[in-house]
Amino acid sequence: MEDEAKQKHALIERLVSSSQNGQPDAFGKLYELFVTPIYRYMYYRVGREDAEDLTELVFLKTWENIHQYEKRQSSFSAWIFRIAHNVVVDHYRSHQTNGVLDENIEDIRREASATERIHRRLDREMLHTAMKGLKEHYRQVLILKYINGLSNEEIGNIMGKSQAALRILQFRALRTLRRMLQEQGVSEEDL
């Protein structure tokens, strides 16, 4: 597993180097490696409607700035997700949302706290709704860690936090998410 991760890391660095030398095919391969994780990141951060547009923007900016990437500063994964994070921030600014809690979203916690609780299986929509209800930095750490599978070091680079702080953040984010899902009536086995 570790070997595989190392090999993948080495491959990515080679592709980045080739892309920096102006090889479009190498960038195409990088795109193939990252398009799904970036899309998933966007899907859970801004929603399905804008995910494609922002994914596109991430890759355009990545290409624009790829010559600025330096291996010693951070891994390429961390770098591209940093770009993705900035794109999301710009998106929120331009759409005047703070990304914390959309007041227009129906508060299903009130609904789920009715006398009748249905133990439902966690599905995509429920997860998405619960994630929307989290604070921004909770949401981001959960997405990067458990949806995109990045390492704590990479997440630390992206979010500008120490690893110790990150651990606590992850824990609190999970706890909050679980509580929100319980209020939605998600079954125990899924939690």
Partner: protein, 704 residues
């Protein structure tokens, strides 16, 4: 005022008073604090507190770990759900293409362009202006009148009392009345009508006839794929099919228990007597016949000069016999043959006008394409201009320029086809309709040029379109299919050439057919095992049809007199219109007896016989090779179907298989194919490899 001054004085005094004076204020307090008794934990208390705190931390850590581990299920569930999220495939591929194109552009320009908002806005404005100007020129600048082939089915000619019944309403039939599916057309006594169908076939109703148009189908994605079905309720119906192109296209005339199906080209007559007896006469080329007999369907092919009579009772097979002399002198037949000549010429002229006035994309519109897909389709449309220019060049007698233009057409279309093939590798769903457009364009030209023969000036164009179809084949199997189709077309042309007395040109066509077929066999050797089997199936099916076509080609036994009343061998048509007619044909057009070319009828018959033998040999070789490699169930089924093919009520081909030999019999000719060992030297010893050879024998004359 005094009070304020006092306060200020005190403040100043305080500020500038020595530090020691101020410190003195806190010294008492300090002393008090220093004298307080020292409070501290005892050692035991310290340890106890330490243990308590450590225990507390330990418990908390344990609880945290337990809590963390309890999230594993949730984490796993999140990961599983997230793994289901994928970007839309189309979006993914489209974005990749854009990025690769972007990455290929010079960086400096890109960077400046992407970063400079003003520049981007200016470019967008410029593009909009260009689009507006282009649209204006496109709609208002082009005043060339367009000639479009009618996509409608029309009641073209009307004589006497003709009624159209539509949704139970009777409408008086008039010329150029548009007909629809489910319309019933009825002619009264001494009345006639002709229907021109959207596939350019024509049917003519004799007096006291009623037909119903049951199907009029045009594939919207490929307009050369058509199906027409007409039901003859009673009376008599002449039908002339002139240029059905696609393998799926057909023209059918149905009676109560009979279906006559024409593909590609044919002329046939169907009649239903007051007692319900149906009769089908194949006048030119051939017609496939299906008759319901005792809950099964009897299928046969009716060749030119043969008739089939079907009684109303369903227990009797059709009676097939050569068309009698009476039918040859039948006025109805001869009149229709004459009218067909006129009709065919008119269709040829219409096709010529359509070819010369085709609208094509301009470089301007190509340049305004939104994406690569759109650009490729614009390029495809732009290739139409090459065809139009080639046609003009040919009518002006400039064959050299025409060849160059046709080569450009081929290059352009095959370039687009090549791009679509690459695009299909990553996006097959998107690529399929694009490929359909290429096929539709070529199908359109093939249909317009279907009536052109090797003796016509525009034949170069027809040949170029046929070659392009082969060139853009997506795989070796498709290439084989297209080549076989092109070879079959050579035989159909040979049929028409013989009809016109052009025996030398007909023989040349037979030669080209032989060359194409032997080339296909060589190519088939390079196919993979799976493809080879499919190719064998296609080859066998084609060869059966080709044998039928060879039968339909009848060399005139003697020069035709000008006043010949034989309806089966009409004199060559009189051509009218802008096309330049070759000199040799001009001589025959002035009403003098047609002069046979240097190839005699005996020579032509010998050529036909040779081609037939080679076709049978090819079939035999194909069957033998397939047998040696353990043929699949599908191939065996094809072999069975091939041997069950019926022409004029008799078996067309008989195939006898042994382990290493196959006999193929057809129409009095027997061909045997055996493997012949070939010695190949390999170093010091030799290796014997099996190949095939064939031997042809004439069957003994049938015993009386």
């Amino acid at each position: 005022m005094k009070y304020i001054l006092k306060r200020i004085t005190r403040l100043i005094a305080r500020v500038f008073s020595p530090l020691s004076d101020r410190v003195k204020d806190f010294s008492k307090l300090e002393k008090m604090m220093q004298n307080l008794p020292a409070v501290s934990l005892q050692k035991e208390e310290k340890n106890a507190l330490k243990e308590k705190i450590l225990a507390r931390i330990k418990v908390q850590a344990q609880e945290t770990r337990q809590e963390e581990s309890s999230y594993q299920g949730l984490i796993a569930r999140i990961a599983k759900i997230a793994a289901e999220i994928h970007p839309n495939e189309y979006f993914r591929i489209l974005l990749k293409e854009r990025l690769v194109v972007l990455a290929s552009m010079p960086r400096r320009f890109k960077g400046r362009f992407l970063n400079n908002l003003v520049l981007r806005k200016a470019a967008a404005t410029f593009a909009l202006v260009l689009l507006f100007v282009g649209t204006v020129f496109h709609f208002f600048g082009n005043d060339v009148p367009r000639v479009e082939a009618s996509a409608l089915t029309l009641l073209e000619e009307v004589s006497g009392e003709v009624t159209v019944i539509r949704e139970s309403q009777e409408i008086k039939g008039i010329a150029n009345f548009t007909l629809k599916a489910d319309d019933v057309i009825r002619t009264g006594k001494n009345s006639r009508a002709s229907i021109r169908f959207m596939d350019e076939s024509v049917s003519r109703l004799a007096p006291n006839t009623e037909v119903k148009i049951s199907t009029l189908f045009v594939n919207p994605l490929n307009k050369s794929e058509t199906t027409v079905e007409v039901v003859l309720n009673y009376g008599r119906l002449w039908s002339r099919v002139i240029n059905l192109i696609d393998g799926f296209s057909s023209f059918q005339v149905k009676t109560k228990n009979t279906v006559a199906v024409a593909k590609k080209k044919a002329a046939f007559d169907v009649s239903v007597s007051p007692k319900g007896k149906a009769k089908v006469v194949a006048v030119q080329n051939r017609v496939d016949l299906m008759v319901a007999v005792d809950k099964k369907v009897v299928e046969t092919t009716l060749m030119k000069g043969f008739s089939a009579e079907v009684k109303t009772t369903v227990s009797q097979a059709p009676a097939i016999r050569p068309a009698s002399e009476d039918s040859q002198k039948d006025e109805w037949v001869s009149e229709n043959l004459e009218q067909d000549k006129v009709y065919i010429e008119a269709v040829k002229q219409e096709a010529g006008k359509t070819l010369s006035q085709t609208e094509a994309s301009t470089p301007f519109t190509v340049g305004l394409s939104l994406d690569e897909k759109d650009r490729q389709m614009q390029l495809l449309e732009a290739s139409r201009a090459k065809i139009a220019e080639a046609q003009k060049a040919l009518t002006q007698g400039d064959a050299v320029r025409a060849r160059a233009l046709l080569a450009e057409f081929q290059s352009q279309v095959s370039g687009v086809a090549s791009w679509v093939k690459t695009f299909a590798a990553t996006n097959p769903a998107e690529a399929a309709p694009l490929r359909g457009r290429i096929d539709a364009l070529l199908g359109e030209y093939e249909k317009q040029l279907a009536l052109i023969l090797p003796t016509d000036q525009l034949y170069l164009m027809k040949d170029a379109v046929a070659q392009t179809k082969v060139l853009i084949a997506e795989n070796p199997l498709e290439k084989t299919e297209k080549q076989l189709s092109a070879a079959t077309d050579k035989l159909l042309e040979a049929h028409d050439l013989v009809e016109q007395g052009e025996t030398e040109a007909a023989q040349q066509n037979l030669e080209e057919y032989r060359k194409t077929t032997s080339g296909i066999l060589e190519d088939m050797k390079e196919l993979s095992a799976d493809d080879k089997e499919k190719a064998v199936t296609i080859l066998l099916e084609n060869q059966v049809e080709d044998l039928k076509s060879l039968r339909a080609i009848t060399a005139p036994l003697a020069p035709l007199p000008a006043e010949s009343s034989s309806a089966l061998f009409p004199p060559p048509p009189v051509a009218e219109g802008p096309q330049t007619i070759p000199e040799e044909t001009e001589k025959t057009l002035e009403g003098s007896p047609p002069v046979l070319s240097s190839v005699s009828s005996e020579e032509l018959e010998q050529s036909l016989e040779d081609v037939k033998k080679e076709t049978l040999q090819t079939m035999g070789q194909t069957v033998l090779e397939a047998q040696q490699e353990t043929p699949s169930v599908g191939l065996l089924k094809t072999l069975e179907e091939v041997t069950n093919v019926d022409v004029n009520g008799k078996q067309l081909i008989n195939v006898t298989l042994t382990r290493y030999q196959v006999f193929v019999r057809s129409d009095g000719t027997i061909v045997s194919v055996v493997p012949v060992p070939v010695t190949v030297p390999t170093g010091s010893s030799s290796t014997t490899l099996p190949t095939t050879s064939s031997e042809t024998r004439e069957a003994p004359p049938p015993q009386p």
